[in-house]
Subunit: 354 residues, 2 copies
DNA sequence: CCGGGCCGGGGAAGGGCTTTCTCTGCGGTA
DNA sequence: TACCGCAGAGAAAGCCCTTCCCCGGCCCGG
């Protein structure tokens, strides 16, 4: 690789001058030398060594984000928001996928610290795991102690700047929505119990049902992976155990899509026999059939806000921005049927399917 | 930030020894010093400066990939394959989104070069743009000249190692499939004409139709963005101009989903009135309604192969791996209806919709 | 008893860049 | 004419780490 001194030598100037031309330093350089340098750069196809630059420069320009999985639309949207603000401020964004592995998450914090990023953003649910939380907070504290900035999205456990989607309120909206439609036999297709996002949404849902005197027994909540196939599995388990359900709450849209797939495979009409409601409102939600009723979270906005917090010098007190959830009514929910709606697969005859 | 010399000082050893302990060098260090160093590392929460390490070490460990957009499932799948192989070989993957902007793509090549990556992988369609192609090849050549490795996915323009999905054969499969089902009035919802992926698929389609004596007039091909909304727009234009179409070919699945959405909004039954076929087989294809018939490309495999090529020292001759396409029949295609199937929105009376 | 070889450890030279400081030479002012 | 100041260029000191090379002990063999 050509180096700066190669360029300088070829242009017949000192490395200092070459550097000044290349970086557009404030220090003036005569037009002639400037041109000689630029010509040398072009001829040698010179590209500065980014690592050497970072080492020599004082201020850090990159920002890191740790998500569960960018190819999950939920994080893809958040990342879009992060990216937008980062780019606006001339910063590079490094994306790390933890694939929901807490250990990997810890490793990535170290990695990003080693990369000298200006800020670390943690997106995605936290874990109910005291040891992990302590370890993570230690690492983050160490990072912050050396001037690093930290912002989190949707995590209670960190005490600094945070953007919080109102998962609990969203859960309440789901409960209210279904209650109004007359549903009383409600099953929940939930993500891993260890994720705070799961429990927050569930808590909200329970709260609103409780307000109407309904309870949500444990056997009507099935935990599985937070993805399409998890949704299929949990829905199947739910229906097998309790064929009388009239509504299924999926705690995210991916699972809801799995639920729809399973219901279709069992020829259960949605929403005539069973209503399905999701959570997040990812873009594909409007394109499945029936179009998915869901709780919308302002994902892009969440990303953008988090990046702004991370790049802002930071107030003394931690800033927490709570972003509201709202119901988006589409075609997968409807009034509860009046008769037992789901026939067990084996059963062949009987009951009109009004 | 604590530095290596901080650690060394605290442990009462030289930086050289500290470095050896931390990196597990082959040079032996007595147990006592080793422990002192490790304790100091823990106490100071020391993390090596990755940039300094890269500068000091000779060999490059990171690999860069430039995709159009990772949040597009097509690239998400490819990236998954890349990632898997990279991780297996202990390498870090840096992902860059060009958002289909050729200039940004050029910039990212420079950026990755500056980052001293061991290899650059270009995923996603090339462009019909001679100037851009020349510029890109120059930059890549310069990179390769300094020992960098390059592999491309689905691009003809680069002469080195490549993984090529067989887009043209895939196009032919689409044509054959629809012809067999009796479709003669076929419209194409195409991506930007400037992308080679678009033209390759189109060429294949034309070939197979021509083999049956059919032609594909220009007005039955509508170009738009390669995404859902592009699919909506192009399908609308197609149907408005030519209500007699019995089949719509979308040149990728995102556009196909847009096509389905538009058809649904116009109450056109799929596949009874109009068949829809996509391309790529992204995961969501099976979950839309009707489930999408499409041409499957082994996306993850493509990524994995490309990374293997990139990390392999490389033969003298460029290696090109062509991966086959195959039709996945689902529910969005069916026999062509016998009577004119689509009534213009405005028209109210007439023709039975058998 | 002395010299060579080996082992554990440190000194110091980079690696490529930025930036401060220094130096030169010029123009302007008294 | 003498001096001051400044613009423009270069020398060199880092930034933090790795690794080559060397050094001092020790053990062993001659």
């Amino acid at each position: 690789m050509a180096t700066l001194s190669d360029v300088a030598r070829r242009a017949g100037v000192s490395p200092a001058t070459a550097s000044r031309v290349i970086n557009g330093s404030s220090k003036p350089v005569t037009e002639e030398l400037r041109e000689r340098v630029l010509r040398a750069v072009a001829e040698l196809q010179y590209v500065p060594n980014a690592h050497a630059q970072l080492l020599a420069r004082s201020h850090r320009v990159a920002v890191g984000v740790i998500v569960h999985d960018v190819s999950d639309p939920y994080f893809a949207e958040i990342t879009r928001g992060l990216q937008r603000v980062a780019t606006d401020q001339g910063r590079l964004l490094t994306i790390c996928n933890s694939y929901r592995d807490p250990d990997r998450e810890l490793e990535y914090v170290e990695l990003l610290r080693g990369q000298q990023v200006a800020a670390i953003i943690l997106a995605g649910s936290g874990y109910h795991d005291a040891t992990f939380t302590r370890l993570l907070n230690e690492k983050l504290a160490a990072y912050e102690a050396t001037g690093g900035r930290v912002a989190v999205i949707g995590r209670h456990e960190h005490s600094g700047d945070a953007v919080m989607p109102d998962n609990r309120a969203g859960g309440r909206l789901v409960g209210a929505e279904l209650y109004e439609l007359g549903h009383r036999a409600i099953g929940v297709v939930a993500g891993p119990a260890v994720l705070t996002t799961t429990t927050d949404r569930l808590t909200g849902l329970r709260e609103s049902l409780a307000a109407h005197g309904l309870s949500l027994p444990e056997h009507r909540v099935r935990h599985a992976e937070f993805d399409r196939d998890g949704g299929v599995a949990a829905t199947a388990a739910l229906l097998d155990a309790d064929p009388g359900l009239t509504a299924i709450v999926a705690l995210n849209d991916s699972m809801a899509i799995g639920a729809l797939a399973l219901l279709r495979s069992r020829s259960v009409a949605v929403p005539r026999q069973v209503s399905v409601i999701g959570f997040d409102d990812m873009p594909i939600a409007r394109d499945v059939t029936p179009a998915l009723t869901t709780v919308r979270l302002p994902l892009v906005e969440m990303g953008a806000r988090a990046m702004s917090l991370a790049l802002d010098p930071g107030a003394a007190a931690p800033r927490v921005e709570v972003l509201p959830a709202e119901v988006v009514r589409r075609d997968s929910t409807g009034p509860a049927p009046e008769v037992a709606p789901v026939r067990p697969r084996a059963a062949g005859s009987g009951a009109s399917a009004g």
